[in-house]
Symmetry: C2
Subunit: 254 residues, 2 copies
């Protein structure tokens, strides 16, 4: 068997999430079926992060073990062979690299970068519908960034933990949470970008942090409210969850 | 009557182009129907550039004349009222501004900026399917940019003119044609951006220039080939037309 590290881009809108499900199309299933279609092998792939329905990836990482192929193929040919069965899908394998058999996409990950995109303007998203979270009220980006620094470092993130989170511990180290804006259109609309880096995240952690920080951007919450919510270690003390559409798994480092 | 200048964003994928057609949905028709729905007025809108099927806009400009509304509305309320009937569409009005009655979206335009996006990597576009032109062979961006400068200035652009072009003269002044790249993913994929500015363009001019420049990027053509093609004033001497999906009307200046 040879283990491969796959780097994958997808548009999450069209799927019920990464993980295989009984009654809905998942990204995992599409890729496993494409691998079967080219190799005849019924392989299971393991991802660095099992993204939810609607969440996108620019650089998801997964690993898969393949038995020797009837016709030997180099990694570039394997990438092309998988993609040949994904042409009609919103999924693209960017690279396949042979790795040691102890490489594990999830457990060996040293760092993950998630980006969250908010389209901040009165008019709905037309070009990038389902690719951003649309917030029509103006957000104070500087206040959001300054308050966000309260969340960096080692904390109990229970306040930002999804109810279905299966992690043993709610404690995580958030290495970076930067928020900035850039112009989006010529009518004053802007895009707000939230970059979050950590070795691992709790389920829904980024979306729950972004939703809570939006309250600060709207002037409904102060930085002190955020600090109090974090200390409360109680999900009901946190703000709402931001929609899946704005979230991207951008990079996983090993 | 009060004339309004509308600035509009749309995803061209879902429409047969800007202009009204008998048997297909157009962007013009969608907006005119939305204006009728909120105002009861059967108004015709005139755009700065009648984009083709599949071509996108981040800042199309159109004008429309409205009779006094039963309930007076300020421009921001008019914008919201039109957008309320475009929610399910891939069209968003970014702003409505009252203008003098001699303002004409097409004839008063002083400058237009089109951007063309090429996704240059082996793997197909997943996240931005229909929003870029995918070219899998590596393109030499510097060679493309240098050769592109042959096209700037005042020329007879017959070589890059679409067969259905209705312009009286094939002569235009191309003020700027800049080509550069930026990283797109973490696997070496990059995005090539072509920015074209002029007071006006011939039909298919940008797509035909981009398609021809791609031959230079691939090493199939030299800059001299491009100069000879331009001088030939013959469409059959130009390269192929690049797909609509990569083209954006970004800004119109008055």
């Amino acid at each position: 068997m040879q283990r491969y590290k796959l780097t994958i881009e997808y548009r999450g809108t069209d799927y019920a999430g990464w993980q295989r499900q009984k009654d809905a199309r998942s990204i995992q299933q599409e890729i496993e079926e494409a691998i079967f279609a080219f190799s005849g092998q019924d392989a299971t792939i393991h991802a660095a992060g099992r993204t939810d329905a609607g969440v996108h990836a620019r650089g998801q990482v997964a690993h898969v073990d393949l038995s020797p192929l009837k016709k030997p193929m180099d990694p570039f040919e394997i990438t092309k062979a998988i993609n040949a069965f994904l042409i009609e899908k919103s999924i693209s394998v960017l690279s396949a690299e042979p790795v040691e058999e102890d490489f594990h996409a999830r457990f060996a990950a040293q760092n993950k970068l998630y980006i969250y995109r908010i389209l901040n303007r009165p008019a709905l998203a037309a070009l990038e519908k389902n690719l951003v979270w649309h917030v029509k009220q103006p957000l104070d980006v500087r206040a959001m960034h300054e308050a966000a620094q309260i969340l960096t470092g080692y904390h109990d993130f229970t306040t930002f933990r999804g109810s279905q989170c299966q992690a043993k511990s709610p404690e995580r180290t958030l290495d970076r949470l930067d928020i900035y804006e850039r112009p989006y259109d010529s009518c004053g609309g802007c895009e707000i970008i939230i970059e979050a880096e950590a070795r691992s995240f709790l389920h829904h952690q980024v979306r729950n942090m972004v939703g809570t920080l939006s309250l600060i951007g709207l002037g409904k919450w102060t930085a002190k409210n955020l600090g109090d919510a974090l200390k409360a270690c109680d999900r009901t003390q946190g703000g709402p969850s931001a929609p899946a559409a704005g979230l991207y798994l951008v990079r996983v480092d090993y």
